[in-house]
Amino acid sequence: MITSVFGVLFDGFAYGMLLFLLSVGLSVTLGMMNFVNLAHCTFGMIGGYVTVTLMNSWGWPFLATLPVAFIVTALISVVFERTMFRHLYRASDLDQCLLTIGLVFVSVATAAWVYGTIQQPVQLPPYLRGSLQVAGLTLGIYRIFLIVFALVVTGLLVAALEFTRFGAQVRAAVDNQRMARGLGINVDGAFAITFALGSGLAGLGGALAIDIVGLDPSFALAFLVYVLIVVAVGGLGSIGGTFAAAMLLGISDMAGKYYFPAIGSFLIYLVMISLLMWRPAGIFGRRT
């Protein structure tokens, strides 16, 4: 019984890490610029397709594709940011929604046209497959990899935000954009870089997600809801909050499915609603 509890915790944690990678970029960019980017998962999808293309058409090893997925996605996102999003920072939320949803539609159609509607298969290298027996627990190797990977990324992110000059600028912009501008911080420039990093992380998340949730053109829409839930529960602009929210939702989703399969599908929404009713600004959020 105890082992099953730990097993569920572990699997939920791994799932949560995936959600974290997919969501953290949106949380920071929303917190910084109040820019509603519903196309965030499109970047996740782009990362996924980069990995698939490199592996299946070029024969690259899985791990080598990950940095490329990150970089390509980040570059593409900068192009979007500079050509389109930039014009809308002062527009209404609703116009931002419409623009980014339009982008999602275009990206879904483009992915379907280029790659077809088929599920993209990915064959992991042998050392990431299968499972380990640790103290009576069955732990999937890929999940261990995912957790370690996400923890390292989180560590790097937190360190970059806390201990670098750039990080300080970003934090200042999240706290009070106008004041930061007044102090001579180039908020637009900092935002463009943050946006690229955040989208790159989503691309990385998309690449890592293929093995667990698959990849087809509907990815850009299918994951939007989960990402929004994580961002809202975590609180805008808070890396710690996003981490906690992703973990909490991943674990409660998994635990719900294991212990209460009958209401497994309700649980994630119930958890979200009660958390938001308790703390409307998110677990660690300071403002709404």
Partner: protein, 397 residues
């Protein structure tokens, strides 16, 4: 102001260019078929496979039958939307003047369009939707796919016969899943087996570790899994391997979707030993199928699946019925001609039940094995000429 003017002009231009879409010339000697299924959205892939099957059949058999040219009018249903399906069927008949409707990837859509078929007395070919009751909704409908009870009751019976006594079932929590669960459990219990546990997972679920851990903890002889395709089978395969379920001790069985090609590619060797029951696989050994698979690959660079064969055989029914009626597209004439049709399909021998207008075919039991380095479904047992058992139980009218 100027930007708004430009915007408006562009906007008007888009709309006008859209109106300019060429109207299809209505040829006198043609038969128009309204194809209604999901070409976009979450269910776009089944839609495009059905469409490929149709294209291939028309390429092989020409686009003229009984002196009439076959014209296809494609309409996108965009997912589960019976209101749209009904509208598209109405529009196809009222606006495009089609002679029959075909396609139908999803049950609710097929049910809604069936009303229109019955009301307008138009021939309807259901090429995929598999819920049993659909064909009872319109007397002008035939089905060329399969029914859920047909495959799953066969599987339940077979599972007991093969020595399993305790079963755990895990199904997607929506009606087709419930139907599959019901069919398997019914047949398994009727044979003498015991269901020791069951669970239904959320429709959009993508991580199965928790469910399979629970199943494993109950120690059944056989785990029955029903998935609707998509990314879920691969996720299940991986979770089975990861949880360390020993397939020699515990059989993992399911309807064919569990071991679709892309699923097998995704799960890799984890899928070895999965057992599924289904009516078609591209690995089916027959001359007819070999040719079908080769032609299909030449045109579409991928293997055909149950959707493709549903579309292919659906066109066969349309062609043969039109030949019998000498091109007459009257609903009554066509359905009379379609009843009792018998032919050799890529899937094997099949026919249209003259009483229920439903499909009669062999159900194959297959095991995933490695052949020439490729994971494929190898048939090792079959149940012949299976009719839909649900309708056999209905009181005769």
């Amino acid at each position: 102001m100027r930007r708004a003017m430009i915007g408006l002009a562009l906007f008007a231009a888009t709309l006008i260019s859209a109106t300019g879409a060429p109207e299809q010339a209505h040829a006198q000697d043609s038969v128009k078929i309204g194809l209604i299924m999901s070409y976009s959205g979450q269910f776009a892939d089944p839609g495009s496979q059905i469409d490929n099957g149709i294209k291939l059949y028309m390429k092989e058999h020409g686009d003229t039958v009984a002196g009439k040219k076959i014209e296809l009018i494609r309409k996108d249903n965009g997912g589960v939307a019976p209101d749209v399906a009904k509208r598209l069927a109405q529009e196809a008949i009222v606006r495009d003047k089609v002679d029959m409707i075909a396609g139908f990837d999803l049950t609710p859509n097929a049910l809604a369009a069936a009303d229109v078929s019955a009301q307008a007395k138009k021939f309807m070919v259901n090429m995929n939707a598999a819920t049993s009751i659909i064909t009872t909704k319109s007397p002008y409908m035939v089905r060329t796919s399969f029914t859920v009870p047909q495959v799953n009751e066969s599987l339940g019976t077979w599972a007991y016969k093969s020595g399993a006594r305790k079963a755990y079932t895990l199904v997607s929590d929506f009606s087709p899943g419930h139907d599959g669960e019901g069919a398997f459990q019914r047949a398994f219990k009727e044979a003498g087996g015991e269901i020791i546990g069951s669970a239904r997972y959320p429709v959009a679920n993508l991580d199965f570790t928790a469910f399979l851990q629970r199943a494993k903890d109950m120690n059944p002889d056989v785990i029955y899994i029903w998935v609707p395709g998509g990314p879920q089978p691969a996720a299940i395969g991986k979770a089975v391997a990861e949880r360390g379920i020993d397939l020699n001790k515990t059989k993992v069985v399911g309807q064919g979707e569990l071991t679709f090609d892309e699923a097998l590619k995704g799960m890799g060797d984890a899928g070895l030993g999965f057992i599924t029951a289904f009516h078609y696989d591209h690995n089916h050994q027959s001359a007819k199928n070999k040719k079908f698979v080769a032609n299909y690959n030449a045109d579409f660079k991928r293997n055909p699946d149950m959707f493709s064969v549903g579309g292919y055989d659906g066109m066969h029914v349309i062609y043969e019925a039109l030949k019998k009626t000498k091109g007459d597209t009257d609903g009554d004439a066509l359905i009379a001609a379609a009843k009792g049709l018998k032919w050799e399909s890529p899937r094997g021998p099949m026919s249209i039940d003259p009483e229920t207008r439903d499909v009669v075919q062999d159900v194959y039991i297959r095991r995933v094995a490695k052949v020439n380095g490729q994971l494929v479904n190898v048939e090792f047992d079959k149940l012949e000429n299976v009719k839909d058992p649900f309708k056999a139980r209905l009181p005769k009218q």
